[in-house]
């Protein structure tokens, strides 16, 4: 448990992706089975454990501690698990005991009956040190957030074994904790495991963004175009009643979309876009990404949500037709099979992404600039004769996004960055003008921390340091008046209403497009302009 606790302590405070991967791979290397597999499962969210109620933990700690002192402690720390980890005092004779390995802790928890949990938790808290207690309590209270996604954990596994991340993603959903066979393969001690289930995730084919001159080198006649929809890319697997919905990074999101899973009465693997609304085959409309967000990242989905925000799949491709792997066939051949599959499925839940006819790249560019539906964010360009290739291979597929929206906003707050940027003010909150109580005031509309070059960062940082009005810990408010301040051109992908923001709007993917030192804050945009952009 010691190594696991030390790993978590580091991961929680490490912002850099590569540093996180180093911490994980070093841990996998130094830790035996089954501990490393359980740690991986805990981090990747595939570990199912009995949860322990906070009330029980509170009772246990108060068996030994004055309630007033506990309250002072909890008020100070603010997190129940952390408070208990710190204040817990083991009896003298327990302290010298060997701390149990992670695997032993998990086995004990899984074997414990309802009535045994209380004394088991007490005994474990006695046997662990403060850092281990914290890790343990986070595991059993379900409050496990350490800033490592399942995807990053899989990347670390790939680095650890020197294999491609796609190989891990393919295997991932066919394996279970503590992943002993997986680690044996990655260490070269055994063959690659072959999971039985055919509903495993298959690596997705990704497109390259269109760059200068890309289109000059290819012929429009060799390519088909489709709209690029603003939903999330998914993969839907159905095999003998076993159905799974995956995000494009291989996370299983079936539980959040029971409406889709229920409607998926086919055999095979579909690649498509998950959207909110009703499929076009039933004459429905496609709703915005912010509606989709209502249904994402939820553990459970209510009946009201299902009615109010119905989901459907706009199909792009077919990987398996029944049990037959069709990925090597051409785009056109796969699309014909896909059309036949979609035809059998409920018309409100599935439709086929339509092709966009065009004769020249110029014509396609015009279509891209003025799409027929606000939920379209550009076009996809796909080689007619190409097979379905996992990963981002340049050539067969391109994405050509609509130009982003831009707005001129005024820098209001700046915060110091992390890692390489820890001595720079590199996270900027920006605002636009609005009327309040008869005068113009700035209201914050977003935050951006990239889009600028290193040289531009120097300029921004210097402005912050020389124009600080107030400091709040790592945050500074900066001079932002009609005639004094810093105007930033902010680019973003979309804008939606938001009750969580004071301004009432939330931007998607905002970044600093340009520094507008040529403009005065009074020339920046107004909130009305942003409200008018809402789809």
């Amino acid at each position: 448990m010691k190594a696991f606790a030390a790993l978590l302590d580091r991961l929680v405070l490490t912002p850099q992706r590569n540093a996180k991967i180093t911490l994980l791979t070093d841990y996998f290397r130094a830790t035996p089975d089954p501990d490393r597999g359980y740690a991986l499962a805990a981090i990747a969210g595939t570990l199912t454990l009995k949860t322990v109620k906070p009330a029980l933990l509170r009772e246990l700690v108060l068996e030994r501690m004055d309630e007033v002192l506990f309250r002072y402690s909890y008020d100070y720390v603010g997190d129940l698990a952390e408070t208990i980890a710190l204040v817990w005092q083991a009896p003298e004779d327990m302290r010298a005991n060997r701390s149990p390995p992670l695997g032993e802790v998990i086995d004990a928890l899984q074997a414990a009956g309802r009535t045994e949990v209380r004394s088991l938790v007490r005994t474990l808290l006695d046997r662990l040190d403060a850092s281990e207690r914290f890790a343990f309590l986070k595991l059993v209270t379900g409050g496990f957030r350490i800033g490592v996604s399942a995807r990053l954990a899989r990347q670390a596994l790939a680095d650890f074994g020197g294999v491609d991340a796609m190989e891990i993603e393919t295997l991932w959903h066919g394996l279970d904790p503590p992943y002993v066979a997986l680690f044996e393969w990655l260490e070269g001690k055994a063959d690659k495991p072959e999971p039985e289930s055919r509903t495993i995730f298959h690596p997705v084919m990704l497109a390259h963004p269109v760059e200068d001159r890309d289109l000059a080198g290819i012929l429009p006649t060799d390519y088909a175009a489709e709209w690029k929809w603003d939903g999330i890319r998914i993969q839907l697997s159905a095999n003998g009643g076993n159905r799974r919905l995956y995000s494009r990074s291989g996370d299983d999101i079936s539980h959040a979309f029971p409406d889709i899973v229920e409607a998926a009465a086919f055999e095979g693997v579909i690649d498509g876009e998950l959207l909110i609304g009703t499929a076009s085959r039933a004459g429905g409309t496609t709703r915005s990404f912010s509606d989709l967000q209502q249904r994402l990242n939820r553990k459970a989905v209510s009946k009201a949500m299902l009615t109010e925000y119905p989901a459907f799949v706009r199909a792009y491709d077919l990987l398996f037709d029944g049990n037959e792997d069709v990925r090597a066939e051409s785009f056109l051949a796969r699309r014909a099979r896909l059309a036949a599959v979609i035809e059998q499925l409920p018309s409100d839940r599935f439709d086929l992404s339509p092709l966009v006819p065009f004769d020249s790249w110029d014509e396609l560019e015009r279509l891209r600039a003025d799409p027929p539906d606000p939920v379209i964010e550009g076009v996809m360009i796909k080689g007619l004769q190409t097979s379905y290739l996992p990963g981002r291979v340049k050539g067969p597929w391109f994405k050509w996004k609509r130009n982003p929206h831009t707005v001129d906003a005024v820098m209001m707050y700046a915060q110091r960055g992390h890692g390489k940027r820890s001595s720079y003010y590199s996270d900027f909150t920006f605002g636009v003008w609005t009327q309040a109580e008869g005068r113009d005031v700035l209201v914050p509309v977003g935050k951006a921390y990239f889009g600028f070059t290193d040289e531009e960062l120097e300029v921004l940082d210097r402005f912050v340091r020389n124009n600080t009005v107030e400091r709040f810990g790592p945050v500074r408010s900066v001079l932002a008046e009609p005639d004094k301040g810093f105007v930033l051109e902010v680019a973003f992908e979309g804008i939606a209403r938001s009750s969580r923001h004071k301004s009432g709007v939330a931007m998607r993917f905002p970044r600093i497009a340009r520094l507008r030192q040529d403009k005065l804050p009074r020339e920046a945009d107004r909130l009305d302009t942003l409200l008018a952009m809402i789809d």
């Binding site: 405070l13 004055d66 007033v68 002192l69 402690s73 110091r416 820890s422």
Partner: protein, 338 residues
């Protein structure tokens, strides 16, 4: 004389009316007794200062030789009399030169602990318990959540990280008096003998520690010239915590921010400061040390100052020990030299 007539808090600090002196006054006074050299306890501009030799030297380094009208060395354990009030100094184990001050008249003895700790520190003398009627204790870490782990383990975290991230400059934030030298000494005790790079603000105090016989090994200024092309990759750099948020820190390759402080026990504290590797090393007592000290000294009464008074007062009450908070102002707590 009742204890609270012998010593009582005033806006300038703890005052002994009979002796006509203040202890660790926060504003200039005629006569000051100083427990240790941290800037919130030792200020410049007093008429007369009585402190240990090391503390006087530290004040001279920080404020210049003319930091007070006159000064007098307090030898540890030596009994002195000021206007009929007896005073004596005893080691506090906080930083080099730190002392507790016992103040007595007739049968009443009060011990002002100043800042103190109980665990081993290779850079200063250990705390010496002095029996007394009233023990005035600090309470910087006076909450049961503060249980500082062994400092060897904390230094081991740094050494592990150096091996794991040899491409990154390891920037250790440590207060310039006491903590920096202790951390450097602890690093040396692991057998690490490569140069340790220090911020300019640490130079004179490190020199002073070395003069007093504390071996800090090879120290080099953390200037661009000494870092060379590698920009301190894989090196240990020690500096005051504030410097790491400053432009000064840009000379380092992919810096890994570290902070050696008792506050680092609380994860959210580390996160807020952007610390990636917290080292829980404190020059103050943790909760267990505070209560073990009070249990060991068994004073008639406990007065609690700067920090989380209420929890320690509550603990004393549970033990049936009279205790009260002593509301002194002007001492740094949050983010101070802890």
């Amino acid at each position: 004389m009742k204890p609270d007539q012998l010593l009582y808090p005033t806006p300038k600090g703890l005052y002994c009316e009979a002796g006509g002196f203040y202890i660790d006054p926060v504003a200039p006074v005629d006569r000051a007794l100083i427990t240790h050299g941290h800037s919130d306890h030792a200020r410049a501009g007093h008429g007369h200062v009585l402190a240990t030799e090391e503390t006087l030297d530290i004040m001279a380094i920080r404020y210049g030789a003319d930091f007070a009208g006159s000064r007098q060395v307090a030898t540890l354990g030596e009994v002195m009399t000021i206007n009929g009030v007896t005073v004596h100094f005893h080691p506090a184990g906080h930083v080099l030169g730190s002392a507790q001050i016992a103040v007595e008249t007739g049968p009443t003895r009060i011990v002002v602990s100043g800042d103190y700790k109980r665990r081993r520190d290779p850079t200063c003398l250990p705390f010496e318990p002095v029996s007394c009627d009233v023990f005035i204790t600090e309470a910087t870490f006076g909450l049961p959540v503060f249980r500082h782990p062994a400092d060897t383990g904390e230094v081991a975290k740094l050494m592990t990280s150096l091996a794991q991230f040899p491409e990154r400059a390891h920037l250790v934030g440590a207060y310039s008096l006491g903590k920096a030298q202790r951390v450097i000494r602890l690093i040396r005790e692991t057998g690490y003998d490569a140069p340790i790079y220090i911020h300019g603000a640490l130079q004179r105090l490190c020199d002073f520690y070395v003069e007093r016989g504390i071996d800090l090994g090879p120290l080099e200024p953390a200037t661009l010239a000494s870092g060379g092309k590698r920009s301190f990759a894989g090196a240990i750099v020690v500096g005051p915590p504030s410097a790491f948020a400053d432009r000064w820190a840009r000379r380092f390759a992919d810096p890994l921010p570290i902070f050696a402080s008792g506050w680092m026990l609380v994860r959210q504290r580390a996160k807020q400061r952007g610390v990636e590797l917290p080292m829980i090393i404190s020059d103050h007592c943790d909760w267990d040390e505070l209560i073990a000290t009070i249990e060991g000294i068994r004073p008639g009464e406990v007065w609690v100052t700067h920090g989380r008074e209420e929890a320690l007062v509550r603990w004393c009450a549970l033990q049936g020990l009279p205790a009260k908070p002593l509301h002194l102002v002007g001492y740094e707590d949050e983010g101070g030299e802890a």
